[in-house]
């Protein structure tokens, strides 16, 4: 609990007591997010996630969106793109990266990557390699 007396502590305490009071719901969404983080490369379906948390998939969807502000699907895509950037920076091929982060086809991966990052995976990798090389030259 936040017990200090500044304006910020009071407001934060209020939010905590009013918005985060339901411990069962919190545990369900936090557990779901951790599960996604550990299995982002698998074929994650909401049915599977709701089985893991012993709850209905629609309820889980609503809870996840309520607490994280994103649907599980949006969150999974964000996670996969973030991981794909790491793999591409390490020099992995685009096809390898695509499958290792859990996307089905390189073409859908490239389209989604371009949409989210503003560069195709190839362009992103070239730029990352160039930046690394650039730093070595100083």
């Amino acid at each position: 609990m936040i017990e200090e007396s500044t304006y910020y502590f009071k407001q934060a305490g209020k939010v905590m007591n009013e918005y985060y009071a339901n411990e069962g719901q919190l545990n369900a969404v936090i557990g779901t997010r951790k599960y996604i983080d550990n299995h982002f490369d698998k074929d994650l379906k909401l049915d599977l996630l709701s089985d893991v948390r012993f709850t209905s998939k629609f309820h889980l969807l609503r809870l996840f969106k309520k607490y994280y502000g994103q649907t599980p699907k949006q969150y999974i895509i964000g996670k996969r793109i973030e991981k794909a950037k790491e793999f591409l920076k390490k020099g992995r091929t685009i096809t390898d990266t695509c499958f290792e982060v859990g996307f089905d086809t390189p073409s859908s991966f490239s389209t989604l990557f371009k949409c989210r990052v503003g560069l195709t995976p190839t362009e992103f990798q070239k730029r990352a390699t160039f930046t690394k090389f650039d730093k070595f030259s100083f």
Partner: protein, 131 residues
Amino acid sequence: MKVKVTSIPVQDQEKALQFYTEKLGFVKKVDVPLSEHSRWLTVVSKEDQEGVEILLEPAPNHFEPSKIYQQALFEAGIPYTQFNSDDVQRDYERLIDLGVEFSVKPTAMGTVKIAVFNDTCGNNIQIVEML
């Protein structure tokens, strides 16, 4: 349009640069002298050097309303800026060892864990870990 730079008002740019690089571990990216007393000075995360730059901006010294706003936020304990952390407890312990003062110790708050420290340049900064 892209988000490329965001600002943090600081009372002393050189002191801020030292704090943000030596204590927080950020890296200086751009440093352009603009006048005798001010620079276009930005830092970035070490692990994301092509990411968003933080402009350490000396507004409180040149623009009275900025100074008043910064002071009011500071006194209310409000962190206007926050950084993400993979492990708030670990960063808290590392920063405590470096002499950084915290007004909020690592505290779980719903789906996040937060902590708030004093950047010694007039600001409360919050670090956040998603749970």
